[in-house]
């Protein structure tokens, strides 16, 4: 058991060379960067708009979408995008139907989530001929990311970022004070629908790296950490992107040098950053007060 893995050394130059020695790892790092930026920016607005539940549901819908695509012989990425876009449209349709009792809604959500996961499992077991594996779909993988996938991710990132920067001001306005924005002539409903679609895109992109179950590690935790650290919008947005990038690259690099899965490292690093931020601000507040 001497050289099972690439061995990390104290020499960062040689570590970097080892890390980028194989094309699959370079693709993974590129894809990771694109996903981290998209997820952090869209996730920042999602956390601001308190729509984490929508993100959670979309990520679970991504799983049957991807496995159904694989079953049909289509690219898995196409399944992610189609399922998340459909899910976002459905969610937008449902969210306008007025208030319901909390108990009834949560029973519906639980049922919906279990149905999505059950269907995904059905598709995986139907297509065990085609799929690279259940755990890759649920917990992510950095193997086998192709140059074509990176290009698609780049396009998705560009579209999502262009759309969000175009609508950033009214979206921010309507996220902070929906009533006032509506009264001020902002098309609140259309904005909400458009944002859900963008969220669907971001979830689909993120799920390709982290797996359907771990999407929150990039979509929610980095923005949440940024909000803990600063209240200024632009600063926290930039911070969220920086945290997501750092977490993704570090996670990929550690996974490359260790025998454990990338999903574990990315979720752990991201959660650690959040816990440290909370602990740090708690301490500094106490000192002042």
């Amino acid at each position: 058991m001497t050289t099972e893995l690439a061995v990390i050394s104290v020499d960062p130059v040689s570590d970097y060379r080892q890390l980028t020695e194989f094309p699959f790892m370079v693709h993974a790092l590129e894809a990771g960067a694109l996903v981290a930026v998209t997820a952090a920016v869209i996730g920042w607005f999602m956390v601001l708009r308190r729509q984490t539940f929508a993100g959670h549901t979309l990520s679970l819908v991504a799983f049957p979408g991807a496995s159904a695509a694989a079953l049909a012989g289509l690219p898995v990425a196409a399944g992610y995008y189609a399922a998340c876009a459909t899910g976002a449209a459905l969610l937008a349709g449902v969210s306008g139907t007025g208030p319901r009792s909390h108990a009834a809604e949560s029973a519906a959500i639980g049922t919906l989530q279990a149905t999505a996961l059950g269907l995904g499992f059905l598709f995986v077991s139907l297509s065990h001929d085609v799929l690279g594996g259940l755990s890759a779909l649920l917990f992510g993988t950095f193997l086998g990311i192709t140059a074509g996938q990176v290009l698609t991710l780049l396009l998705v990132a560009l579209v999502a970022l262009a759309a969000i920067s175009f609508a950033a001001r009214p979206l921010l306005f309507s996220s902070i004070d929906r009533e006032l924005a509506g009264a001020g002539g902002v098309p609140v409903r259309a904005l909400g629908f458009g944002f859900l679609l963008l969220l669907g895109l971001a979830v689909a992109a993120t799920a390709q790296i982290t797996g359907a179950l771990l999407v929150f590690a990039l979509l929610v935790t980095p923005p949440a950490t940024a909000f803990v650290l600063t209240a200024r919008p632009l600063a926290s947005l930039a911070l969220a992107v920086a945290i997501a990038l750092a977490v993704t690259w570090l996670g990929l690099a550690i996974a490359y040098f260790s025998p454990y899965p990338v999903g574990f490292w990315v979720t752990s690093l991201s959660f650690l950053a959040y816990v440290l931020a909370r602990a740090g601000t708690a301490v500094s507040r106490r000192r002042r007060g």
């Binding site: 001497t2 050289t3 099972e4 893995l5 020695e21 194989f22 094309p23 699959f24 984490t52 993100g55 459905l90 349709g93 449902v94 139907t97 007025g98 319901r100 909390h102 108990a103 009834a104 949560s106 029973a107 959500i109 639980g110 049922t111 919906l112 989530q113 279990a114 149905t115 996961l117 059950g118 269907l119 499992f121 059905l122 077991s125 139907l126 065990h128 001929d129 690279g132 594996g133 259940l134 755990s135 917990f139 193997l143 086998g144 179950l213 771990l214 590690a217 929610v220 949440a224 025998p259 454990y260 899965p261 999903g263 574990f264 490292w265 979720t267 752990s268 991201s270 959660f271 959040y274």
Partner: protein, 557 residues
């Protein structure tokens, strides 16, 4: 259907699991604690896999994790309902931890259980033994009794906590006790429908019951009845349709009932979508099953692991003999073979065969494949020409190593040959392939004279639509052993009674030395083209060849 013992066990355990889930689920939904159910399902996954990684009974991990988490949630009380950002972040991390334990467990388990993760996530109710089923039924019954004992004060405390407290009902203690019961039920349900789907079994029957009847007592009864009915219908459906996993079937039925009820309410849009999806899914599974073939019930070879070994090899890109990529790959493959070691090629600098050994009587058996790829075309990754055979050799070694050898069994050696392809250009361009290629197998035969009694070579063995007629130079008697083994494991259709062309390959040096050898190769596959990638492979083909090789090796041993 009930003539099968596994179905009787599934019905026994399933009935009580469903009963408990229905009864407990009603109060969970009433108290708006679906969130707690969600939390427990995440914890159940991680707890079960932590136990598996530590080598403890999975049930111990399940119960410790869910009951512990339930008690913690109860003690934290209202504060535990922190905002959804915190919850989402923490849950993602818990699942990430579960993925870590899964990977620890699957890499260390000598007898190979790549499917343990799927079992914990999606249940394995058809795999219960009689003892498991009785225990599950007893715990389920106990949870129902406990809930019914708690029911009256619990109902009071749920509907009007302030008045209940004023009248001396220990609201907090009852809340904690109830959550612990939920924890027990969650662990139970994980064994039946899996950690990811247990939320559906708690929520769907209760949601439907609450829409149907307003009275809480009749509601509890209705939830229990819907849960048990869904369980029975799901098990029966899954028995009829072999491709439909039981947990999916149970959840689809429960969801369909809930949505059928909810159709009359404002939840219409989701209801129509999900009901249609359920119908399509069941129809799909039904169609899939009609074309299926029984594999003869033998499952010694882990095709999932073989598949990921193929992926792992391809991730190194083009891997010609002597390249840095191939040497790095060899470093990773060697520990996967039993007693794995390198045998450097004496006349070829930097080339080495990777050899594993199961000790025994000599002369022994050699199972081999080449692990290098072509030098050109540029970018060639050799999914079928190299990687698939290599993966099957490694996984067959693991399957055989896990079995107790019979006394006097022969030695089995697993050899990954280096330098099968010529150092330059394509084999068809090599005027003298026998001396420019086959470098690893020639060196092996020269180094181990008289050590081999029979040799199995795997070359193009993983493609879709695989057909393996007897390669002309292959030994006839040995090939009929292979075909008999294939029929035993239900893979006979991959081995038609034909004769293919005469191919010079890594088995040729063995034949020249008088050793009976056979070459598994589908020569219709374009193995020298750039398109030899993962999408050309079939998990079913890899599984069929893997099972056949394991069975053949057992017969020869």
């Amino acid at each position: 259907m009930l003539a099968h013992a596994f179905m009787r066990h599934a019905f026994l355990a399933g009935t009580f699991v469903a009963l408990a889930s229905g009864v407990v689920g009603y109060f969970v939904v009433l108290r708006a604690q679906v969130f707690a159910g969600d939390a427990l399902s995440h914890v159940a996954f991680t707890g079960a896999l932590a136990a598996a990684a530590a080598g403890i009974d999975v049930r111990v991990g399940l119960f410790v994790a869910t009951v512990g988490a339930a008690a913690a949630l109860g003690l934290l009380g209202e504060r535990a309902r922190a905002d959804d950002v915190v919850i989402g972040s923490a849950f993602a991390w818990i699942l990430g931890l579960g993925a870590l334990f899964l990977s620890i467990f699957t890499t260390q388990a000598g007898d190979g259980n790549g499917t343990q993760g799927a079992r914990v996530l999606f249940g394995s109710i058809f795999g219960l033994s009689a003892g498991d089923a009785v225990i599950a039924a007893a715990i389920g019954a106990a949870a129902v009794v406990a809930t019914l004992v708690l029911a009256r004060p619990l109902l009071f405390a749920s509907l009007d906590p302030l008045v209940a407290e004023a009248q001396g009902v220990p609201v907090r203690a009852i809340g904690i006790a109830f959550l612990i019961v939920v924890g027990v039920v969650a662990a139970e349900a994980t064994q039946a429908v899996g950690a990811l789907l247990l939320l559906g079994l708690l929520a769907a029957p209760a949601g439907a019951a609450r829409l149907l009847v307003a009275d809480p007592w009749r509601g509890v009864a209705a939830a229990a009845a819907i849960a048990v009915g869904s369980m029975w219908a799901g098990l029966a459906l899954s028995y009829r349709i072999p491709h439909l996993p039981p947990s999916t079937a149970v959840i689809l039925v429960a969801a369909a009932v809930y949505l059928g009820v909810a159709l009359r309410t404002r939840l219409r849009p989701i209801a129509v979508g999900a009901a249609a999806a359920s119908l399509v899914a069941i129809a799909l599974a039904g169609c899939g099953s009609s074309g299926s073939q029984d594999r003869g019930g033998v499952d010694r070879f882990d095709a999932d692991r073989a598949w990921s070994l193929v992926e792992r090899q391809l991730s190194y890109g083009q891997r010609p003999a002597g390249s840095r990529a191939l040497r790095r790959l060899a470093d990773r493959l060697r520990p996967l073979l039993p007693n794995g070691h390198f045998e450097p090629l004496p006349h070829e600098h930097g080339l080495r065969n990777v050899v594993g050994t199961l000790p025994g009587r000599r002369p022994g058996i050699v199972v081999g494949a080449h692990y290098d790829t072509l030098v050109k075309p540029k970018g060639f990754v050799g999914a079928n020409n190299g990687a698939a055979g290599t993966a099957i050799v490694i996984e067959a070694a693991r399957a055989l190593a896990a079995r107790r050898p019979t006394p006097g069994a022969r030695e089995v050696r697993f050899v990954l040959f280096d330098g099968e392809e010529p150092a330059r250009g394509l084999p068809e361009d090599s005027p003298d392939f026998e001396h420019q290629g086959l470098r690893g197998s020639r060196a092996y035969v020269a180094a181990h004279p008289g050590r081999t009694k029979a040799m199995l070579l795997l070359d193009y063995v993983g493609n879709r639509g695989l057909r393996l007629p007897r390669e002309s130079s292959s030994n006839i008697a040995l090939w009929s052993t292979v075909r008999a083994a294939a029929r035993t494991v239900g893979a006979g259709r991959y081995f038609p009674p034909d004769i293919g062309p005469d191919i010079v390959d890594d088995h040729s040096p063995f034949l020249s030395a008088g050793v009976p050898a056979v070459d598994f190769i589908d020569w219709n596959y374009p193995g020298h083209e750039l398109g030899d990638r993962l999408d050309k492979l079939s998990r079913a083909s890899i599984d069929a060849v893997g099972e056949t090789v394991v069975e053949t090796a057992l017969r020869l041993r």
